[in-house]
């Protein structure tokens, strides 16, 4: 039994005042402090983003982080505005988890059913690429984060359900209204075009018009290609760069490029 006190608690039993009284005083201080209000937030009844906790609960000394405020770039459940969705498929195309499927929503026009994204939150990684890609700003991400459910099928959110999220007016990412910054445009390789109208038919913004092209005179011995003598012209101010026309073109005559 050595007389020297060691700082690592070796002789804890030999120093009852030091090793019993001091921790008990610390615990009592903590008890008195948390009697008024503990640092925990009773989650289902209270929420971290409730502004009334901004001054009450300090997670870290100094400025409370994440308490009482919601960051505007929070990435939670999506909100979909079906009315402005143009069915451009860009969200499903940009999704790295392949969790977005374009499904038909019952619209007013039965002949031309509208397709809107349906999101499987069992696969979603909340990267936000879809809302970045959305040209109309109709698919954004909100601050809702409660997704737990006992059934896997309920993890798949239909467009109508996403539209309800939109209607609930949650704080959401600022809707980006400006067009993509790249100067890429849809260009046409005229000799390949057959004038089939597929691009104009499928363009979500109806910015493609088929214009007549002059039918060249056939020289003797030359056989004119069998085609419709029309060519697509893209209205660049209306185009949202979704690329639908490129993917539907049967002759691969449309491509991305920058016009001089």
């Amino acid at each position: 039994m050595t007389e020297a006190k060691t700082s690592d608690g070796e002789n804890a039993a030999d120093n009852p005042i030091l090793y019993v009284a001091r921790p008990m005083a610390t615990a009592a201080r903590q008890f008195a402090k948390s009697l008024r209000r503990p640092s925990t937030i009773v989650y289902p009844y209270e929420r971290l983003e409730d502004p009334r906790f901004r001054d009450q609960v300090a997670v870290e000394p100094g400025r409370p982080i994440g308490v009482g405020q919601v960051w505007d770039n929070y990435r939670g459940v999506h909100a979909l505005n079906i009315a402005t969705c143009i069915s451009c498929n860009l969200c499903a195309f940009s999704c790295p988890d392949i969790c977005i499927e374009m499904v038909t929503v019952p619209g007013d026009d039965p002949k031309h059913p509208k397709k809107c994204p349906q999101i499987d939150y069992g696969k979603c990684s909340y990267c936000g690429f879809c809302s970045d890609a959305c040209p109309e700003g109709c698919l954004t991400m909100t601050t809702r984060y409660e997704l737990s459910t006992p059934h896997r099928a309920e993890m798949v959110y239909s467009p109508q359900k996403l539209n309800e999220v939109f209607r609930s007016k949650l704080p959401m990412n600022p809707i980006r209204l400006e067009l993509p910054e790249n100067e890429d445009r849809i260009l046409l390789d005229p000799p390949l075009c057959i004038g089939c109208n597929a691009c104009a038919r499928d363009c979500p913004t109806q910015c493609i018009t088929m214009l007549d092209v002059p039918r060249p005179d056939a020289k003797p011995g030359e056989k004119l290609p069998k085609r419709i003598w029309k060519e697509p012209v893209v209205n660049d101010s209306d185009c949202v760069r979704c690329g639908t026309c490129i993917s539907v073109c049967p002759k691969e005559c449309l491509f991305w490029g920058s016009r001089p």
């Binding site: 804890a12 615990a27 008890f31 289902p44």
Partner: protein, 375 residues
């Protein structure tokens, strides 16, 4: 002080029940409202009331510990079930009750099932001995303190039997350590109690309480109180002396192999013993259900005042145990034994000498005269 006692209440209940039955079925009214029948039923109701009160208090004690420990750790305890989580422990109990009991292969069936049962039953018997308030006990036994401590020290035997019959060598080791610890700390507990007995001159808990009319015994016997509380912590296997059990490290130690209702028996018995420990501290050192004489008599004159003050003191003493649990780290085995043999027993002996000196002098300068320093 109220004039109603536990027995009178149960007798009235029994008479009421039998008279109602007799009113509904008139032919049997005369035989069943006989005094002997009412007395037998009153005794049964007496036991049932004691059992219900002890179980209810045990479960409330678990709730009290969870809430207090939560505040010590800067959180809230159970919050969801019932008001402020009051019903959470009932829900936990029902969950354990519904579970299958699982018996390990080649475990000794008799020991495996009788160990936890006897552990809990011996803990519940204690509530028939401890007086709660004046009249609220099962008769003032002249040696009730001795009987209570004797039953209290049955526990190592049953723990050892349960651990041994689990057919698990680690459970057996844990049971051995638990039994060794409990037996080692019996000595300072008894020595601390001896000083109280010397000062009060009685082994009856009721008499000990009434001997504290002038001053509570924790004043002159503060050393004995410290020894008693520390040794009681070791007896209850609570932190910082919970090394046989060590929830996080040893997967519950000696009751590893127990699940379902048998585990609930251990859990309940642990808290029953914690409640008994708190009650003993209140009875021996804190004046039981009495209040100091300078307190206005209005505080003790309303009905059931004794029980109220007694339970208040008991829960505060248990709060002290929780405070210790929230503060101190677990000790090692060598530290445990060193504290037990090198510190506790000398301190308890010192307290015994102090009590003997007080009885000899008969008057304490600060606290006044010893009321009836007989013995």
């Amino acid at each position: 002080m109220s004039s109603a006692t536990l027995y009178s209440v149960s007798y009235a209940l029994a008479a009421l029940i039998l008279n109602v039955i007799g009113f509904i079925i008139p032919p049997i009214r005369a035989p069943i409202t006989n005094v002997d029948v009412v007395t037998v039923l009153a005794v049964l109701i007496f036991g049932a009331l004691l059992l219900a009160a002890s179980m209810l208090n045990t479960i409330l004690l678990i709730w009290w510990e969870r809430k207090l420990l939560g505040r010590f750790m800067d959180r809230r305890g159970a919050m969801h079930v019932g008001f402020a989580g009051l019903l959470q422990n009932f829900a936990d109990g029902f969950k354990l009750f519904r579970k299958n009991t699982f018996q390990p292969a080649e475990a000794d069936t008799l020991g495996f099932y009788s160990g936890p049962t006897a552990y809990m039953v011996t803990s519940m018997i204690l509530f028939g001995i401890l007086p709660i308030s004046s009249g609220w006990n099962s008769g003032s036994l002249p040696l009730s303190l001795l009987l209570a401590l004797a039953i209290f020290s049955f526990a190592p035997l049953f723990i050892f039997v349960s651990a041994w019959s689990s057919n698990n060598k680690y459970s057996l080791m844990g049971g051995m350590r638990s039994a060794a610890q409990m037996i080692a700390y019996e000595v300072p507990i008894l020595l601390a109690v001896v000083s109280v007995v010397i000062l009060s001159g009685s082994f009856s808990l009721t008499t000990i309480v009434y001997e504290q009319q002038n001053y509570w015994f924790w004043g002159p016997l503060v050393v004995a109180l410290i020894v008693f509380v520390a040794a009681m912590l070791a007896e209850m296997e609570r932190i910082p002396f919970d090394l046989p059990e060590a929830e996080a490290e040893l997967v519950e130690g000696w009751n590893t192999e127990y699940g379902g209702m048998l585990f609930a028996f251990f859990m309940l018995a642990d808290y029953l013993r914690a409640l008994v420990g708190s009650i003993l501290v209140v009875l021996l050192f804190l004046g039981g259900w009495t209040l100091p004489t300078w307190v206005p008599s209005a505080a003790t004159s309303f009905p059931l005042a004794g029980i109220l003050w007694f339970m208040l003191k008991t829960y505060l003493v248990f709060g002290l145990f929780v405070w210790v649990r929230a503060s101190l780290p677990r000790v090692r085995t060598d530290q445990l034994l060193r504290v037990g043999w090198n510190r506790m027993i000398p301190l308890a002996l010192l307290s015994v000498f102090l009590a003997a000196a007080l009885v000899t002098v008969r008057c304490v300068p600060v606290f006044g005269c010893v009321p009836s320093a007989g013995a």
